[in-house]
């Protein structure tokens, strides 16, 4: 069991955010095996516990702001800030963001919040792949998985704009148009502008100004150094290993993916559905940020998925 401190450390980010629809009932921080401290919050009571996972250090646990108030009326809800943003530690050693450690963080949080088993909800690679890995390796801890914006590396090629920008990520580019902003030097020069660009690309639905502003604000709460460190990590598994891990999942899953997802290609979602037999909800016209941009749809899908577990043998 990891250590638990009584109160979280308020930051400017959370002061700014004081008008929450629902405040946590309990907050604390837990140390991972490598000593990195992770800030967590618990809301509500009611079985089963639902843990919302972080999605990369570009945002933090407020990414689930539209889910927490609703679901915590019926369930115990746990969120935590991932490594790098903003109340958790912000290591600058790339090794701190390795797949093993990020997956291990879920167990650290489960232990710290005295949660034996939980439904995991995640978005993108940090949310989806890591919950799959945990379910495959520690099935006794995972009751079910709700996966948005299916981020499972290797199942299909990365989006073309990611391939192009990763090829020149460490180069000094003469311009910073569009995806050229996905560049180490540019992040150091104007990370807030990158964040606004990035979330505009991830949220192309009409009338998304609020969702974009929120996400860009969470990015600004974080750290460029943490982002750069995280970008140095390499994914440690090949396709066969990834597929074997996906096939090994035994708990119920629900997959949700937008037809316009600019972060994770929909081929990854279809392939994961084939490998796991899980139902895939394809949301017409939606981009990557479904929980933030389509919260009612996301909340009802999560709610009904959890209800469906109640009738099943556990």
């Amino acid at each position: 069991m990891s250590s638990v401190s009584a109160a979280h450390v308020p930051t400017d980010a959370l002061d700014r955010d004081s008008g929450r629809a629902r405040l946590p009932d309990r907050s604390g921080s837990a140390a991972a095996e490598d000593g990195v401290r992770l800030a967590w919050d618990v809301y509500g009571t009611g079985d089963p516990t639902v843990v919302f996972l972080p999605s990369a250090p570009i945002v933090h646990s407020r990414q689930w702001k539209a889910q927490v108030p609703y679901l915590s009326r019926h369930h115990r809800v746990v969120t935590y800030d991932g490594r790098g943003n903003p109340r958790s530690d912000r290591p600058t050693d790339p090794e701190a963001y390795a797949d093993d450690r990020m997956t291990g963080d879920i167990r650290t949080i489960l232990d710290a919040t005295e949660t034996d088993r939980a439904v995991l909800v995640g978005l993108c690679i940090d949310g989806v792949w890591r919950s799959i890995r945990l379910a495959a390796e520690h099935p006794e801890r995972v009751l079910g998985i709700v996966a948005f914006g299916i981020g499972v590396p290797r199942l299909a090629p990365a989006q073309p704009h990611y391939q192009a920008s990763s090829a020149t990520f460490h180069e000094e580019l003469p311009s910073a148009e569009g995806w050229e902003k996905m560049n180490a030097a540019y992040w150091r020069r104007d990370y807030p502008d990158f964040a606004r660009f990035f979330f505009s690309e991830m949220t192309t639905e009409p009338h998304s100004t609020k969702a974009i502003e929120d996400a860009a604000g969470w990015a600004a709460d974080g750290s460029v150094d943490a982002m750069l460190a995280e970008s140095e990590t390499t994914f440690p598994f090949d396709l066969a290993q990834v597929e074997a891990t996906c096939r090994a999942v035994r708990c119920p899953m629900l997959l949700i993916h937008g037809t316009e997802d600019q972060c994770q290609s929909i081929q990854r979602a279809h392939r994961l559905a084939e490998l796991t037999g899980a139902p895939l909800v394809v949301v017409d016209g939606a981009n990557h940020m479904i929980p933030g941009r389509h919260p009612v749809l996301a909340n009802l899908l999560i709610r009904d998925f959890i209800r469906s577990l109640e009738g099943s043998p556990t």
């Binding site: 009409p206 139902p279 017409d284």
Partner: protein
């Protein structure tokens, strides 16, 4: 943007098939609540389209406003209020499903008031709570001042009444002179409207919805604004506005507003945004004072709190109506 789940790919016995079906797809501009009854009233050959929702007590009559939009501007109120009360709306002459007469006199405020009374009759409504936004506030005031037997209570939102000076920039260009400029408030001009009606509508609702994150409200209003046209709007612009008589003397403008307010006896609620760019907040203050009504100052809000702060507006209206029931 409409999200619609497709058929699930693959199944497993203990995963929820209902999860994928929980969300019912529907076109974006479909209605959260359809009317239970619709009809037309005809006055002087002009057809006025009305709708009735729900069957609770009392009835709330949601009035038209400026002809630039039609009754869908109440879209965020109707589904909620109709669960609790009986709701009647109608499209003002010149937009929506109502006719577009070509005589300026047909757009007089007195005609809108007569339409409201005709709709109350057609829907079998003896008395109603009456609510109006912007120019609709003049119709509310004329109904409660001159037809008190039909009005249970009144709600005024962003009231467009001549009770305080407007920002001088608003009136920099005479409406009927062609100054050849299509920018800012210079667009408030017959020639500019005929040159670029959509441009005016977009500009105007940008001023109405001055709050951040209002793109949806502006887009909706633009759709409604394009259901009428520049010629109709120019015609309506030449119609007389608020008027009444007192001791046999005809009154208009500020004198009419104050006389009507003094005569108004029913409970009233005045709601006004402190950052309203169309009608200064001071108008709401003076109206509340003249009526002896409660003033709700919406801090930082613009002109249309119905569209931009619908939950708050709905709860204010609900609580006001419930307060009437307790008082009766």
């Amino acid at each position: 943007m409409v999200a619609s789940p497709s058929a699930p790919v693959g199944t497993r016995p203990n995963a929820s098939p209902s999860a994928a079906g929980a969300w019912q797809p529907r076109p974006e501009q479909s209605r959260a609540r359809d009317p239970d009854e619709t009809g037309f009233v005809v006055r002087d050959g002009v057809r006025i389209a009305w709708e009735r929702y729900g069957s609770g007590e009392p009835t709330i009559l949601l009035l038209p406003t400026w002809t630039i939009i039609h009754s869908r501007f109440w879209k965020a109120q109707i589904p909620y209020l109709a669960r609790l009360f009986r709701v009647v709306t109608f499209d003002g002459r010149g937009n929506g499903r109502s006719d577009r007469p070509s005589d300026p006199a047909a757009y007089a405020a007195t005609e809108f008031v007569a339409d409201a009374l005709a709709v109350l009759d057609a829907t079998g409504t003896e008395r109603a709570v009456v609510a109006g936004l912007s120019m609709g506030a003049a119709y509310v005031l004329m109904l409660s001042g001159d037809h008190p037997e039909r009005v249970l209570g009144t709600v005024y939102l962003g009231a467009a009444l001549p009770l305080a000076d407007r920002d001088p920039g608003r009136d920099e260009v005479p409406f009927d002179d062609d100054v050849g400029r299509d920018e800012g408030w210079a667009r408030y001009n017959a020639f500019s409207w005929r040159r670029d009606w959509p441009g005016f509508v977009e500009f105007f609702f940008g001023e109405v919805f001055s709050e951040t994150h209002s793109t949806k409200q502006i887009e909706d209003a633009l759709d409604w604004g394009l259901e009428t046209d520049a010629d109709t709007m120019v015609t309506a612009e030449h119609a007389p506005y608020i008027e009444t008589t007192e001791n046999g003397v005809g009154l208009t403008g500020r004198a009419a507003a104050l006389a009507l307010a003094a005569r108004s006896r029913c409970p009233s609620l005045v709601i006004h945004g402190t950052s309203d760019r169309i009608i200064p907040f001071a108008v709401g203050e003076r109206l509340a004072e003249a009526l002896g009504a409660t003033l709700v100052a919406m801090e930082g809000s613009g002109h249309d709190v119905l569209g931009r702060e619908p939950v708050l507006a709905n709860l204010l209206i609900r609580d006001f109506v419930r307060g009437l029931e307790r008082g009766s």
